[in-house]
């Protein structure tokens, strides 16, 4: 039986008179990875933020493993623990060092004992290759390192799914690789992932489906090979052309 982990049904959201999401539906099965692409301002980030309700949608429903996220308040923090999020600008807690950034969710949300939490946080930092930076504050880390701590912070909570909101867009080109490597490793371990990214090489190699969004709607979606070879819409083709110009084909990348 295929388990539908995340179900998004007919999501609508507007900010004032601006309609950002105009009816988005989407399903992620356990272990699936889907990449959302599209021009800026089409609601990709808003869509992700509706999934863990950092933004409250106007209508439509979101379910995580059958439990509705879009209604009720009491369960929200419980549900959010199961949905990791990685931000474009990392959003590491500025006043905490790398270890404490990863640890605080364990002690303060999961109520884990301090000793155990530190052990686990260290193990996760190890996983992203930053064990030796445990004592460094965010300002002392490079962008790539900060983002890897951001990913570690999400992983440590043992989420069912992780949302990535343009995780490499704020990084210098030479730092992107280390972050993509951690993400690839995570993908290979079977994590369910919903990503907004323009790293096409990465998308090609790990994702099950590419979703092209424009103007608050899903214009086209399909497996990467089909998507890149024969996009159905002219608009998709033009967009793909543009980003491959900018970001390259990515075939040589991991």
């Amino acid at each position: 039986m295929i388990e539908k982990l995340l179900v998004i049904e007919d999501l609508h959201k507007s900010f004032g008179t601006l309609d950002v999401l105009k009816g988005i539906s989407l399903v992620l099965e356990m272990g699936q990875k889907k990449v959302i692409i599209g021009p800026s301002g089409t609601g990709k980030s808003t869509l992700l933020r509706c999934v863990n309700r950092l933004t409250t949608p106007d209508s439509g429903r979101v379910y995580l493993d059958g439990v509705e996220i879009t209604n009720g308040k009491g369960q929200l923090s419980k549900l959010r623990q199961q949905i990791g999020m990685v931000f474009q600008h990392f959003n590491l807690f500025v006043h905490l060092n790398a270890l404490d950034n990863v640890r605080i969710g364990l002690t303060d949300v999961k109520r884990m004992g301090k000793k155990e939490a530190i052990q686990k946080a260290m193990a996760v930092l190890e996983q992203v290759g930053l064990a030796e930076k445990a004592g460094s504050y965010p300002a002392e880390l490079s962008g790539g390192q900060q983002q890897r701590v951001g990913i570690a912070r999400a992983i440590a909570m043992d989420p069912r799914i992780i949302l990535f909101d343009e995780p490499t867009s704020a990084l210098d080109p030479e730092l992107i690789g280390e972050v993509l490597m951690v993400m690839t490793q995570l993908a290979e371990e079977g994590m369910t992932m919903l990503l907004v990214t323009h790293e096409m090489g990465f998308a090609r190699s790990i994702c099950d489906e590419i979703i092209f969004m424009e103007d608050g709607k899903i214009l086209e979606q399909g497996p990467p090979i089909q998507f890149f070879k024969s996009p159905k819409h002219d608009r998709t083709r033009r967009f793909l052309h543009k980003i491959t110009e900018l970001y390259g084909q990515g075939e040589g990348e991991e």
Binding site: S77, R80, Q81, M85, N91, V94, H95
Partner: protein, 228 residues
């Protein structure tokens, strides 16, 4: 000068009372100020409006009038000391002022910090306590030293409701010795000056101690020249 030696115990008691009231009302203002600021920023419509209104009303009333109001209302209702009334009245006023200092600090923290905290399943109140305030408070030590400096000196207003602080004691001495006014007022001025300097020094030490990488810091001035 003999009078100073003779009256030293009395003046010292007055001085200690000033310190007690200052510590009490600043602490009360600190706690209530944090609550007011959090209400204003994170409260949602109704709670935010409530916080805003409280803060506006209190800041619009002179401290002296607030003291009188509290004195006549509290002491009529219950049997409380004037010292207690002074701490409450000045504390409430301090809360209103401190709330705006804290609000400035909270607003200086990027919204991404709260979002990241929520995204790992932290509840809002805990996120305020564990993520927002530790950063915001570090930022506002400078402006808070203004609050300290002004409000420590305002303890002398407690004189008006009969608190036996240093000023009132000095007035007694002046009255029964028919003189020494200049001397005693100078002593009081000196006392407040030392108290404010001392507090400020400690606050700036605290600021330096709590510094985190990534924050700006005050240039350290070394007066002694070092040979390199």
């Amino acid at each position: 000068m003999d009078i100073l030696v003779k009256e030293f115990p009395s003046l010292l008691q007055g001085a200690l009372l000033v310190i007690k009231i200052a510590a009490g009302h600043l602490a009360l203002g600190f706690v209530l100020g944090l609550i007011l600021a959090s209400m204003e920023v994170y409260g949602g419509k109704i709670i935010s409006l409530l916080g805003r209104t409280i803060q506006k009303v209190i800041r619009g009333i002179p401290a002296l009038v607030l003291l009188m109001l509290m004195y006549f209302s509290l002491s009529r209702l219950t049997d409380v000391s004037t010292t207690f009334v002074a701490i409450v009245a000045l504390g409430i006023r301090s809360a209103a002022y401190q709330s705006q200092v804290f609000r400035g600090g909270i607003k200086a923290i990027e919204s991404g910090q709260m979002e990241a905290a929520l995204s790992i399943g932290m509840r809002k109140l805990r996120a305020i306590r564990r993520i927002i305030l530790p950063q915001a408070l570090r930022l506002v030590i400078g402006p808070w030293s203004n609050i300290y400096t002004m409000e420590v000196k305002d303890v002398s207003l407690a004189y008006s409701i009969g608190v036996l602080e240093i000023l009132r004691r000095a007035r007694f001495i002046i009255r029964y010795t028919h003189g020494n006014a200049l001397l005693l007022y100078t002593v009081i001025a000196l006392f407040y000056f030392i108290l404010t300097r001392l507090g400020n020094t400690l606050l700036y030490r605290l600021e330096a101690k709590l510094w985190i990488p990534g924050f700006e810091r005050r240039e350290k001035i070394r007066w002694s020249r070092r040979k390199e």
